[in-house]
């Protein structure tokens, strides 16, 4: 009872967009898809949706091949948002729902409920082109869920939204999770992943480099992070001289250091006390996803890989 992607490969010309990708996504969880632009996230989603066919490998939902399951199983929010510009919001949402076999009446009622929840009930009779980007995205989200799909595939759902709308959309995500839906979304925003996802996969150039429950992934390095603040010494120059300790970030509130695998993070606290420092803050934590991401993929540079190989199917 889960979504299983098994040894999927897909090549576009000279570019291997997906290289033997295998993933298992458990029903009812929120799954984060991470990767730089061009890593293969969108291609993977399109293959799951059976919009694209893989060169090899299979996708199955609840034991049934994705080419056989009903299209209504999937709710899709494409990375490139698309609505009919000249159509009224309510009309096109009902239209999309009808294509999935929803009765127009039910679709209209459901649409109004969601518009209410997103605080834009007055937009039902406006044309899509008259809406702001953020509001169009809410409409796009409604279009993806109106037919009550089992699995939601959301490609960069939080990109381009202001904090208020991000909060609204996160709330909607949690609501869908509460309804038992499986949610897969891709993003660059690591904090969102840490906040919402139970499991993640990091893709790099078509390969899965990290996969698992968020907690396990963060512990998998064996490294730990300490955050230390002492009274009267914001430099903490001595910190870097400790064995197995590397200063990773100096901030106003505290200094962060990584403690290598096999070393006890409490060494840092003991060293501070030995130096007669008055410790204001001491914290031991797992490395953040961002650090793990950087470790596996390199610097997150959104602009760098968007222009990557020309022949990639967008």
């Amino acid at each position: 009872m889960s979504l299983i992607i098994d040894s999927v490969s897909k090549r576009f010309g000279a570019v291997l967009a997906l290289d033997d990708v295998s993933l298992e996504i458990k029903p009812g969880e929120i799954f984060g898809f991470l990767g730089a632009n061009g890593a293969g996230k969108t291609t993977a989603m399109r293959i799951v949706l059976d919009i694209l066919r893989p060169d090899s490998g299979t996708v199955a939902w609840n034991g049934m091949a994705n080419t056989e399951v009903s299209r209504g199983t999937w709710g899709y929010l494409p990375e490139e948002r698309g609505l009919y510009a000249k159509m009224k919001v309510l009309d096109q949402l009902v239209f999309f729902a009808k294509l999935h076999g929803v009765k127009p009446k039910d679709a209209a009622r459901e649409t109004r409920e969601w518009l209410e929840r997103f605080r834009i009930p007055e937009y039902a009779d406006r044309r899509a082109e008259q809406l702001s980007k953020g509001n169009q995205q809410k409409i796009q989200f409604i279009a993806a869920i109106l037919h009550d799909p089992q699995v939601l595939l959301m490609d960069e759902p939080f990109t381009g939204l202001d904090p208020i709308n991000v909060a609204l959309l996160k709330e909607a995500f949690l609501e869908m999770k509460a309804r038992g839906k499986t949610i897969i979304f891709s993003t660059h925003q690591m904090e969102t992943v840490e906040e919402m996802c139970q499991s993640i996969a990091i893709l790099d150039r078509g390969r899965v480099v990290v996969n698992g429950a968020v907690r396990d992934v963060r512990r998998s390095t064996g490294r730990q992070v300490v955050r230390l603040a002492v009274d009267g010494d914001s430099e903490l120059a001595w910190l870097g001289t400790l064995d197995g300790v590397r200063v990773s970030r100096r901030g106003q509130d505290y200094t962060e250091a990584e403690v290598a695998s096999g070393h006890d993070p409490e060494v840092v606290l003991r060293a501070a006390i030995e130096r007669k420092c008055r410790v204001l803050h001491f914290e031991i934590a797992d490395p953040s996803l961002e650090e793990i991401f950087i470790e596996h993929v390199g610097q997150i540079d959104a602009s760098e890989r968007t222009l990557a190989p020309k022949a990639v199917y967008a």
Partner: protein, 438 residues
């Protein structure tokens, strides 16, 4: 194959959306209204010509003092002044004649002086020679064009009078010599068409061919545009999750086709209303009776053939338009992508214009079975009246087969093409993409 199952109801929903979207756009509404007005106006052209000509009509009263004037004198004079009546035309000549008996001379003189007539023509008979003698009373210059025309006309009447007195008539003297043209073999079922009919039918077939030509180019481009628009606005990906390419393709072709038919219907409606209104408008504007509307050569079988070929031609071409439209990412590129089709449409059009002159030639008959050219050439042949029912049936069957092939190919190209973004697409990529996609 996934794409082929359960075409409806989704194809129908797409059709309705396409139709509504197209027909509610401002360009469609304005275009349709303008075209309908133009079509209506065109049907009123004869009335307008009459109205203009009628304004400069010279009213002439003819007073018949002479006895034994030939019985067809009125017709002879009228034809000499206004020319032979053109069948199917409501046009009238520059002279309106009022014929009066001799005892009305003084009344006629009064009317002339009152300015009700431009001229009075008095017809008398010379007692010595027996010839007719004419007197024209008018303030028009005697060397002006109306006076000259009347002078010529009375000569015709004088000649007719002399011929009648000699025991014959102008009509008898000028009666056509009988002659016929027959094919070399007498068994060939000779159809000797009257020349007028031949001209009318070639005008008609040119008109119908132009109608089909315009429809395929205009409405085919609509289909390509609407595909490119969905790709451009990226609604395509959402649609691909909700429908199959075949459902989308079918809906687009049907929706745009229906919108096109609606536009054509309103234009044809305007023409019909215009033709029916010709009489009443004519009598209101110009006055006097009218010869009635004329649609020379337009028969029910021809109209039916036109509709069948129109629909099939549109289906065949618009499927290809949809396939080509799916290969571009922006509407601006549609023109370039569909230019090969444009060439094909143009070739068919020019072939058929050339064919109308030689409608029975072998090359015309052969090409009229080629599905891409059937809408034009078969139509031209039908209009020319040279087609057996089985010949028409064969052309339709071949077109249906071609449509089935086009549907299959277009669905493959379409499902591959709709996800191709931001690259120039050549034939190689199309085939490659069509092979790897579903």
């Amino acid at each position: 194959m996934n794409g082929w199952r359960s075409l409806f109801p989704n194809a129908w929903y797409v059709t309705v959306r396409e139709f509504r979207g197209r027909t509610s756009s401002r360009s469609f509404i304005v275009g349709t209204i303008l075209l309908a007005i133009l079509a209506f106006a065109a049907t009123q052209a004869p009335v307008a010509i009459d109205a203009v000509a009628g304004g400069s009509q010279t009213r002439v009263e003819v007073v018949e003092l002479a006895s034994n004037v030939p019985s067809d004198a009125q017709a002879v004079l009228d034809q000499a002044l206004n020319g032979a009546p053109i069948p199917g035309s409501t046009q009238r000549g520059g002279f309106a004649l009022t014929w009066l008996a001799g005892d009305r001379l003084s009344a006629a003189q009064k009317d002339l002086e009152a300015g009700e007539f431009g001229a009075m023509l008095v017809v008398e008979r010379d007692a010595a020679t027996g010839d007719l003698v004419f007197t024209l009373r008018t303030d028009m210059p005697s060397d002006g064009r109306p006076a000259q025309l009347i002078a010529n006309a009375v000569r015709s009447l004088a000649i007719e009078d002399r011929l009648v007195r000699a025991g014959t008539s102008t009509a008898a003297v000028l009666a056509p010599t009988k002659w016929s043209v027959l094919p070399v073999s007498s068994s060939g079922g000779a159809t000797v068409n009257n020349l007028n009919q031949e001209i009318a039918s070639s005008l008609l077939s040119t008109g119908l061919v132009v109608l089909i030509f315009m429809a395929i180019i205009t409405y085919g481009t609509w289909v390509a545009m609407s595909v490119a628009e969905e790709k451009g606005s990226r609604v395509m990906e959402l649609m691909l999750n909700a429908t199959t390419p075949l459902q989308m393709l079918t809906g687009k072709v049907m929706g745009n086709g229906a919108a096109g038919l609606a536009q054509y219907g309103s234009i044809i409606g305007a023409v019909l209303v215009g033709l029916l209104a010709q009489g009443p408008i004519h009598s209101a504007v110009v006055g006097g009776p009218d010869s009635g509307p004329s649609v020379g050569g337009l028969t029910v079988p021809l109209l039916a053939s036109f509709m069948i070929l129109f629909v099939l031609g549109f289906l065949l071409y618009s499927l290809l338009y949809a396939a080509l439209g799916s290969l571009v990412s922006r509407q601006e590129d549609v023109q370039a992508a569909t230019s090969p089709l444009m060439v094909l449409v143009m070739v068919g059009y020019f072939l058929s214009i050339a064919a109308i002159q030689s409608i029975t030639d072998t090359w015309v008959v052969v090409l009229s079975y080629v599905p891409f050219f059937s809408p034009y050439l078969m139509l031209a042949r039908v209009a020319g009246g040279h087609v057996q029912p089985w010949e028409f049936g064969l052309a339709v069957a071949l077109m249906l087969a071609a449509i089935a092939v086009a549907l299959f190919l277009a669905a493959r190209i379409y499902s591959a093409g709709v996800l191709l973004y931001g690259q120039r697409v050549g034939l190689r990529q199309i085939f490659k993409a069509a092979r790897v996609s579903r």
